[in-house]
Subunit: 327 residues, 2 copies
């Protein structure tokens, strides 16, 4: 284990989180019709799952105040799951009424992060989510739990792995289909990712385990390689790298979908995501959100996008010709 | 083999290439005194090696036209090697006269890239470098050869691994101390890095092998993890991520030194580089080059730079409180 190997066509299940986790962080309100069009385009790209919206209070997150309209307006594509964020009982009721495929519940592995983000302690959050899980039981809706700050807390620093494992254990005991280990503020590093993934896979082999990386400190793809080496096959990512964290000023956001698909594809994994279509969508995001996205592929192109040799070396590369060299 | 493991204090030898590979790409001429001060500060950070300048024609690379003055002006620090780029015989003579520790020769693994970059074919380059190596033999100067486009060519695409191995073999036969596998335009990906590193280490166990990654497509740190898993312990990097490639518009530059040191340190490796000092230097580069640098640590801080909890949740996190959540 923990060996980096060529994908050899192994399927990787990608969840696109831009419509929820990305747009939630933007200053502008993206019109409902534009959200629906974006989700429909993403649906056709080949993602296994799309996180559509969040059934939170419209006052709390005005950017996603149109959750019902968005969920009802999208064209569902066969084979794609539609997930929504559900914070509490009220959200669960609203979400179930909208014919969702998955409810994504959330709480934090860190007490102070949970308090800051959800304004209650972890035990209160757990008990509330337990109720939500009971409410959803018996419906066709699957339950996933996103565990924030699983690799570190921006206020406390290290989060003991046993705290994360304990929450995974308790939610597994409630029968959830999957858990997502969220590196909410980009604190994960490769050897840490190895350990946590190894233990979660070992002790909860039946659980669907998703990794949710942020690229705050440039480590999202390195962490992905580490997770892959432990057999993780589910990842969240956000078109254009949208998203971020309100507690880490200047931080970049979620790992960029097209950058991740590009790497996975080069490594021989099968994401089933059409990279050209996805990159086109990410390029078009700027017109929706009013600023450029910061992904590498959008900026520099794919590895296979070759360049023409300069027609005139003298004219084109003044500084680099002759015995001037670029190593 | 190819297993990601905690560093457990293993020494990693970092070469800082910003003064040569970084500044060579900048539009402005950094004053000689400022270059010397920069190199002296970098020397004190703990790098194993610093690439100081390039003994190319001043007309070809005006940004480095002060090679002699810089090399003679710096304060050498015990334990730090000072390397310079040497393109040809003339450069070798000039460099040897300046009391350098290492001559870094360069040619490309791709015919078209070599033609574009060096205006001659690979065989002509090899023969020229062979002469340079003969010239240096018998002096105290060590020889390293940087092999450009070792992971792909921006004009041709894939570069056969056998072409790279063949060049490594021929230079090893000439008795060079080390080779650097350069991902000149950011085309390397983790499984490719694994293979090449494994083969070079296997067939040339006595050779010092350095990896030189560019972050063009966001893969530099993922590739570093792959190289580490094959036992590579020498890396080039550039403070602030300075550098780039003239053939890949919009591409970002060399892997950022402070981002790499940050990751290696979290993984338990010992780079001996003082991250706080290095980050301070990278922050100060903007005033030398006239634009911001794009490293993650400069922007977002280190993993251990914790944040204060908001005093008033209501005021500080309007959009994120209540049942608004951030996974």
């Amino acid at each position: 284990m923990s060996s980096i190997q060529p994908g050899q066509g192994k399927r990787i299940f990608m969840q696109e989180v831009c419509p929820r986790d990305g747009l939630q962080n933007e200053a502008v309100f993206v019109e409902t019709a534009d959200k629906i069009a974006l989700i429909d385009r993403l649906s056709l790209c080949g993602f296994a799952k799309v996180e559509v919206t969040s059934f939170t209070s419209p006052k709390a997150i005005p950017a996603l105040r149109d959750a019902e309209a968005v969920m009802k307006g999208i064209q569902k594509v066969a084979g794609v799951e539609y997930s929504v964020l559900v914070p509490n009982m009220r959200g669960a009721e609203r979400a179930i009424a909208c014919n969702i495929d998955e409810a994504n519940l959330v709480m934090s592995c860190s007490e102070s992060h949970n308090n800051t983000n959800l304004r209650m302690g972890r035990e209160a959050s757990f008990n509330q989510l337990k109720q939500v899980i009971r409410e959803i039981e018996g419906t066709s809706v699957a339950v996933n739990v996103s565990l924030s700050a699983a690799f570190g807390c921006p206020f406390e620093g290290n989060v003991p792995e046993k705290d994360v494992m304990s929450l995974v254990d308790r939610f597994a005991g409630l029968g959830v289909r999957g858990v997502t280990l969220c590196d909410t503020t980009g604190m994960a590093y490769p050897t840490q990712v190895l350990n946590l993934c190894r233990n979660v896979k070992k002790f909860f082999p039946a659980l669907e385990v998703t990794l949710h990386f942020h690229d705050t400190r440039g480590l999202a793809l390195a962490n992905t390689v580490a997770a892959l080496s432990e057999g993780i096959d589910r990842f969240d990512s956000s078109a254009g790298g949208l998203g971020g964290c309100p507690y880490a000023p200047g931080a970049s956001g979620n790992v960029c979908s097209e950058d991740m698909v590009h790497m996975l594809s080069l490594m021989g994994f099968d994401t089933q995501v059409n990279l050209a279509d996805l990159t086109g969508i990410s390029r078009s995001l700027a017109s929706l959100i009013g600023h450029e996205v910061h992904g590498s592929i959008v900026r520099a192109g794919r590895r296979d996008d070759l360049h023409a040799m300069p027609e005139s070396l003298e004219q084109s590369f003044k500084g680099f010709i002759k015995d001037g060299v670029k190593a």
